[in-house]
Every structure is written in C-alpha cells, then in structure tokens.
Amino acid sequence: MRYNSVYLLKRLGFAFITLYVAITLNFLLPRLMGGDPASALASEKALGSQEVVKALKAQFGLDNPSLLYQYAKYLNQLLHGNLGVSYANYPSPVADVMVKALPWTFGTVLTATLLSYLVGWLIGIRGAWKAGSLFDNSTLFTAFFLNSVPFFWIAIIFIMIFSFYLEWFPLGQAIDPGIDSFSALDKIKSVLYHAFLPVFTLIIATLAGHILVLRNNLMRVLSEDYMLLAKAKGLSAARRKYAYGARNALLPSFTGFMTSLGHVIGGAITTEIVFSYPGVGLVTFNAILNHDYPLIQGSFLFIAVSVIVCNLIADLVYPLIDPRVALN
C-alpha cells in the first residue's frame, strides 16, 4: 500500500483550504472592487420583479449591512447549491447554467490535455535523446513560437483554414441544430465532429509547454549515473530511453500536468468564444457582455473548484506511479 495517512491528510487539507480560499475570494473580491454586491446579485433592472429581488436579498443576507452576516448567509446558500439567479437566463439559477456548460468544457479540456501531454512527451523525449539535432532544434523553435501565441488566435486561424476554406469542420457550435432527430450513433458522431477543432486548438496551444518541460527533465535525467550504468549494462536504446529515461523524466512533470489544467481552462475560455462552443468559457463571455454578475461569480467558482478537484486527483494518483512519494 503506497498511501500513508499523513500524505493523504496533507493533500486533502490543502485542497480543502484552497477551496475555502477560492470561495472566500468569490465573496470578497466583488466587494473589494467597489461593486455593489446587492445590486450585482439582485438587480431589479435585470430581474424585473420586486419579489424576486427581495427574496434573493434575504437569502444572501444583503438586507443586513454586516459583512460577516452576509458572509455566513453566502456560505450557507453555497452549501445548498444556491449561487443566485442568472439575469441573462432568468429565471434559471446560476448553478443550472453552469452544470449544463461544464461537461462541454471538461470534455474538450481533459481530452486535449491528455493528448497534448502524450504528444508533447513523445516529441520532448525524442528531442532530448538527440539533443542538438535538426529535429530537436526545429521543435524547440516551434515550441517557443507556439508559446508566444494566444490560444484564441490559433482558434481563429484554424477556423479560417479548416472550416471556412477547406470546409472540413463546422464553423462552430457543439452539435448539429437538428440533433434531437438523430440516432444515438449519429449524435456521438456529431459531438465528436464539432469537438475536433476546439480540441485540436487546445492541443496545439498547450503542446509547447509539455515539449519544453519534458525535454528539460529528460536532459537532466540523461546526465544521471543510472543512465550511464544502464548503458554499461548493455541495455537496448529503447529500454534505456523509456524504462530508465522517459519514466524518470515523466514523473516530476506529472504534478505540473495537473497544475497546467488551470492554464488550459484559461485558454479554453477564449477558444470556446471563437468556436461558439457552449462551455464555461462561452457562458462567462456572455455573462461579461450582459453584466450578468451572479453568473460571472458562479463561473469563477466552478472553474476554481474543478481545477482544485483535478489537482487533488493528481495528488492521489501520483504515489501510485512514483514509488518515492508518500513513503517518507
């Protein structure tokens, strides 16, 4: 058994504290920025109904000027899953809007992250193994360039080339308009067809980071004594490259892989806007355009919570693949 209770408690505790901080920031930041939380959460202009405004204000304690009272009410509502009502989607609660959007973002972001990691891993390893070669230099150069480009620009370029000029992929959206009449198989096909280009964009945009990290790690591993001994023992190049080199290069990057999720989600927000892909990003964008403050706060919370959960999962998986962790 690889887990020990101290490690488990530490990671759980850390995730919990992070979660708490994110929740508190979500409460505090709008107030610090000088926004009026009362009118933000329960704007009569947006909601149009005096009763709704009153009920919301009571729920969130906005009828009481004490910040602590408001905070307690806010936490209480949060525990009940109440994030307020979205103006733009009135009368849908914020939580409903977010829950509908989340799977789209999660699907594309996770798929893209895994694939990008895999491809970046292969390229980075090949580059480090033959450091200084033409392959190494050209991938390095490309990686630096890709690292300098905003996600959404890559998205626009891809739409222009692959959707508009070549007509290989749809110009946007996540599903065909008439999907309800489709068979189950066609539904899946439609979803994959629409998701391809957004996922591809995210892969290309995040590839560079993975290439650079893995190349660096492997370069460091290659200078270790056990690599020399592996060569001396007469191990095949493949065995040395993967079981000895790549595996050791991969491990330290694993935690970074999950941390990068935050970065990928940030990129996914703008990418979704370009593709009109109905995920968290597009919801956030529309919320910003419509000054739909409860929804903006809700989206921050959902993004933060997802990333924290993913990190916790990574922390729990890590000891399973690296024998050195969690034992001391």
Binding site: S223, Y226, K233, G234, L235, Y244
Partner: protein
C-alpha cells in the same frame, strides 16, 4: 602473471569553450589476471576519465584521442559499438561512485539486476530471476530486498546491489570508480571486505580508482599515480609503502595521516593542479615540486621502468637512482 588488460598511450581530450582539454595524456599501464590495480591522484587528474575511456563510457564532449586498449587479446578501441556493448559487462563491468544515483529510482532492484542479465542473455528468462537471487546472496543481502526500490535501501545496501550487478556476468575485469567514497567508514570497511572476498572467490581483476591512498595501500597489488592527466609512477604496494620515488607521490602520501606508527606532521602539496588547457611545459608537476631542477620545466621526463616499477621524473637516471645518489656514487 599474464596480462589481462593492456593500456597503451591512452589519450582523452574534450573541447571546452576555452580550448581543448587534455584530460588524459599518453597513459600506459597493464593489469594482470587476478590483480588489483589502483589508480590514484587528486580529483581532476584524469583517473576516472581513464577508466571511462577504457570501457567506452565517456560522456561527450570527452572523446578518445588516441592509444590502444587490449583486453584479453581483443583490441577494444577498434571494436564497433554493437560488439563493444556485448563485450562490456560480460567481460568487463563497472561499479560507479557510491553517491546516490547509481540505481534507477523507479524500478525495483529485481528488474534492474535482471536487466543486466537479460541484456546479454535474452533467453535467460526464469533463470535470470534465480540468478538475481543468487547475486543478492553473494553480497549478503536478503533475497526479499529484490522487491525494494532503491530509495528503500541504505547507501551501503545500494552499493552492494551495484556490486552484485557488476558480478552478474562473471566478468574478468571490474572497474571500480570510488566505490566507497560517500559511505561512512564502517559501511566502507564492510564493502571493501566484500569486494576482496568476491575477488578471491572469482579471481577477476580490479581497476580500483580512488583518492584515498591509505585504502589503496591496504588492498591493491600495484598502484599507479596520476597527475594532471599523466601517469607519473607505478609501483607495487610494498614499494609504495617503503618509499615512493616521484616527488608528487611522496607529497600525496604525506597528505594522509599514517594508519600505524607514530604520528607526524601532515604536509600537503603547495599550489593547485594545473590548467589542463595550457599545462606547464616539461614535467607538469614542476611548478609545485620542491625538488624541481632546470630541465624539469623544459623537458618531459622519460619513463624509467625497472624492477621497482616505473617512474617519470628527472631525478632518476637510467639506473633508477636519484641524481643525488648517482653523483654520490660517482664520488
């Protein structure tokens, strides 16, 4: 004693931004069957580089610049890489420095030991697993340690595993590069004893590299002293103990406290090893040598080989006498 390894005029150099570094310069020595040969010198003198040159494990930019290495009648320097890979470990294995990272941290000891066997005998299969257990017993480690990861073992245990690994193919030569340096003295003694015991049992030869001269005087049959990429003296253990001839060797021996006998003042050697990009002309040791003469800075001393070993120093003429002795004899 018949020769197992013969190194002739071995030169190794590497390009640095400031120029070519001659890390090993025209080094020649031989090791007999079953002999323990020590190579000593200050750090950076090229002793480890010599060892890596012999087993073709130089890390770029270091490269073999010339010379020949004959092991058991086979000229190694002309061997193609694939053949060398087969020969290494089956005829000649290495034990690297005992610092942390000799073992792959993410593989169990079992698979690292079996790797060494299977790489040379792809069909070994089940047999390899059995041999891994035998190897563990050989170095006094319990077989259940095969399922440990390196970080679960102590430094001494790890080094035992590395030694067991070196025994995997019953080589005729084992190169040991500072095998006990990072370990504490008690563990170190245990490992040295183990090495000597295994050597007795299997009769392989050892090229033993260390900067720990007293240790070398304890265990090696013959000892070579390197300075600034050159071999300055070779002598048997007895000769070394009774009185080395090269001033550098003398200085080196005086830098260690004697293990037995009366205490005496320790004398270091003044100055620093030279810059190997532009080494001093003549004898490379002359700027630090208390007994330097005029010819020392201009002419490279010839190697004098006699029954006491060999030495490269202007103090000794063809008869193997010091210049002072020679002039005294003439009078």
């Amino acid at each position: 004693m018949s020769k197992l390894l013969q190194v002739q005029n071995l030169s190794i150099e590497y390009a640095s931004p400031r120029g070519v570094v001659k890390a090993v310069d025209n080094v020649s020595f031989s090791i007999g069957k079953g002999e323990i040969f020590g190579l000593a010198g200050e750090s950076g003198c090229g002793k480890s580089t010599t060892a890596f040159g012999i087993c073709r494990l130089l890390r770029p930019p270091a490269r073999l610049a010339g010379g020949s290495v004959v092991l058991d009648g086979i000229e190694l320097t002309e061997l193609p890489d694939e053949q060398f890979d087969k020969l290494r470990w089956s005829k000649m294995s290495i034990v690297l420095q005992s610092a942390m990272n000799n073992l792959n941290p993410v593989l169990k000891i079992r698979s690292q030991l079996m790797d060494a066997i299977v790489a040379h005998e792809p069909d070994a299969g089940k047999e390899a697993a059995k041999r891994a257990e035998q190897l563990m017993r050989l170095v006094d480690l319990p077989a259940d340690r095969l399922d440990s990861y390196p970080h679960e073992l102590s430094g001494g245990m790890r080094q035992r595993v590395v030694i067991a690994m070196a025994m995997a193919m019953k080589p005729s030569l084992v190169i040991m590069d500072e095998p006990t340096t990072a370990l504490d003295v008690v563990v170190q003694n245990g490992i040295i004893r183990k090495i000597l015991e295994l050597q007795e049992q299997f009769g392989f030869s050892i090229l033993f590299i260390t900067h720990d001269l007293p240790l070398m005087l304890e265990m090696c049959d013959r000892i070579g002293i390197m300075y600034a990429g050159r071999l300055v003296e070779i002598a048997s253990r007895q000769e070394m103990k009774s009185g080395p001839r090269h001033p550098y060797t003398q200085g080196l021996l005086h830098s260690f406290p004697p293990l037995y006998g009366p205490k005496r003042r320790l004398e270091g050697i003044p100055g620093h090893p030279p810059d190997l990009i532009r080494p001093p002309g003549g004898c490379r040791f002359h700027p630090r040598c208390a007994r330097a003469m005029t010819q020392c800075s201009s002419r490279e001393p010839a190697v004098l080989a006699d029954e006491r070993g060999q030495v490269a120093c202007h103090l000794y003429n063809e008869e193997g006498l010091s210049v002072e002795q020679a002039s005294a004899a003439r009078e």
